[in-house]
């Protein structure tokens, strides 16, 4: 601004007149997102214990093991869900606040001065490609639904027969939450109808408005789905690892 401003509120990192514990909301983000990142990185490179009976860990699905690839197959596929979450509008808010402290909280001072270009320069300008990660995530949804259904068909001497194990339910809950997370995406909301100004003027305006309303309903819960699905995908992988490594036995309900 051209005019000089009076220092009514001092500037500087963490400086604020707020009385509430504004920093508390950063703690679960740092803990959960940080723990997930460490765990997922370890599991990606572990390259073991990702299959048990009909169960396949979501970290390794689809399981692609080309002969020319000497490392963990998870590396070949995890860029897609990682990119989808990293460019997600909700997670952006979460990690810009909790990890980049830009800002650490509303009306809370930042480290000053520092260069700020928002999402206008590399690497953050790549956030604009979120919709492409969405397209890939939708393909992954189909694959993980296949895995979840396949987790109810247990191998036997005569072929495969229907059954229910704890792992079947874990993978089913996981894919339901992942579906909620993907279908509540802001980019999907734009693509299915948000980009339309006049629903009564375009082809299939009625269905597009209906789709936009449906995604909008889910979108209001995007944060909830983001956290629940993050936790569920981590727990689903952990469960498969525990049964595959023999640490626990898979309890069969049917």
């Amino acid at each position: 601004m051209a005019e000089s401003r009076t220092a009514t509120v001092r500037s500087g990192f963490g400086v604020t007149m707020r009385r509430d514990a504004w920093w508390v909301e950063l703690i679960p983000v740092v803990v959960i997102l940080g723990a997930f990142t460490v765990y997922a990185t370890w599991r990606t490179f572990e390259n073991n214990y990702y299959e048990f009976g009909p169960y396949l860990s979501p970290f390794y699905s689809p399981l692609i093991k080309p002969k020319w690839w000497p490392l963990s197959p998870a590396i070949l596929i995890l860029w897609a869900p990682l990119g989808f979450r990293a460019t997600c509008y909700y997670y952006r808010k979460a990690y810009y606040r909790a990890f980049f402290l830009d800002p650490p909280g509303c009306a809370v001072g930042e480290s000053h001065p520092h260069r700020y270009s928002g999402e206008t320069r590399f690497p953050f300008i790549l956030q604009n490609l979120h919709r492409y990660f969405l397209y890939v995530a939708i393909v992954f949804l189909f694959i993980l639904w296949y895995d979840a259904i396949a987790a109810f068909w247990f191998p036997s001497a005569t072929g495969k027969h229907f059954g229910i194990g704890i792992g079947s339910l874990v993978l089913l809950v996981n894919i339901i939450l992942l579906t909620g997370y993907t279908l509540s995406c802001h980019s999907l909301r734009h693509i299915v109808g948000g980009n339309v100004d006049c629903f009564s003027c375009v082809v299939a305006g009625g269905p597009r408005h209906g789709a936009w309303r449906g995604v909008s309903f889910l979108n209001e819960r995007h944060m909830l789905f983001a956290w629940l699905s993050l936790i569920s995908v981590g727990l689903a992988d952990l469960y498969v690892r525990l049964v595959a490594s023999g640490a626990i036995a898979d309890l069969r309900l049917l």
Binding site: T6, R19, Y89, Y96, G118, C198, H209
Partner: protein, 245 residues
């Protein structure tokens, strides 16, 4: 009747400090009532901008205990009265006197936005579901609390490159208007710097009209900017068809 202690900024653009005042509490009292009490009894020269005292004119914006609020909608019974209540002017704007700031920068930004421009020969008829979507944006009372709390303006002082949430709300109302025929995506990207917004949602948190600024205005506008400037497939299709948007 117990007293509440207020610490109120007194000063101008050259500087100032917090002054302490005692105010007797009455049931249903809001911070603006306390400011009026102080004007009437202790400091007749205390500058406060206000008008409707009903949360509709957007005049009495300030920072109460460090949080951007309308003073007319901030009840004393919602504040901890065992400590002094601080009232300061909005940090992102130059102080004129005491709690009154110069918000004229906002009006200069507003002038950059092309107004509603109907499509040629458009039929003046709108579907209710299309009206419903843009109605939310018309609730804005221009209190500028969102502009004040936005860290792009408040901490990074990008006023020359950034329009701020209030004007993204206005543009969203125009861009999504079913009869409007203008595209403002280039303005959003180049002049109003929507890419500087890193969607940390503080604007939404402080909006007294409960407008979902980030989810319903800024992110949809960012997606429209992606459509026109960052989506390689759309860029290729536009090249093939020869269309600009």
């Amino acid at each position: 009747m117990p007293d509440a202690t207020f610490k109120i900024f007194r000063g101008d653009r050259d500087g100032g400090e917090l002054y302490e005042y005692k105010v007797p509490i009455a049931p249903g009292m809001v911070v603006l009532d306390a400011l009026h009490y102080i004007q009437a009894h202790d400091a007749p020269d205390l500058a406060v901008r206000w008008n409707c005292k009903a949360g509709k004119c957007g005049s009495c914006s300030a920072e109460v205990n460090g949080r951007p609020r309308l003073t007319c909608k901030t009840r004393l019974d919602a504040l901890p009265l065992d400590q002094p209540i601080t009232v300061q002017p909005m940090k992102s704007f130059p102080v004129l006197k005491d709690l009154v700031t110069d918000v004229s920068w906002n009006y200069r930004v507003n002038k950059k936005i092309p107004p509603f421009t109907p499509r040629p020969n458009v039929e003046w008829k709108m579907d209710q579901r299309e009206v419903d979507r843009v109605q939310e944006f018309r609730k804005c009372i221009e209190c500028f609390l969102c502009q004040n709390v936005c860290h792009v303006l408040r901490d990074h002082e990008k006023q020359e490159q950034f329009g701020g949430p209030r004007f993204f709300v206005r543009i969203a109302g125009l861009e999504m208007h079913p009869l409007d025929g203008l595209s403002r995506t280039e303005l959003l990207k180049e002049e109003l710097g929507i890419g500087l917004c890193n969607i940390t949602k503080c604007c939404t948190e402080v909006c007294p009209e409960d407008i979902h600024i980030t989810d319903n205005a800024i992110i949809p506008l960012k997606e429209r900017v992606v459509d026109d400037f960052y989506d390689p497939v759309r860029w290729f299709l536009r090249k093939l068809s020869g269309k600009k948007h």
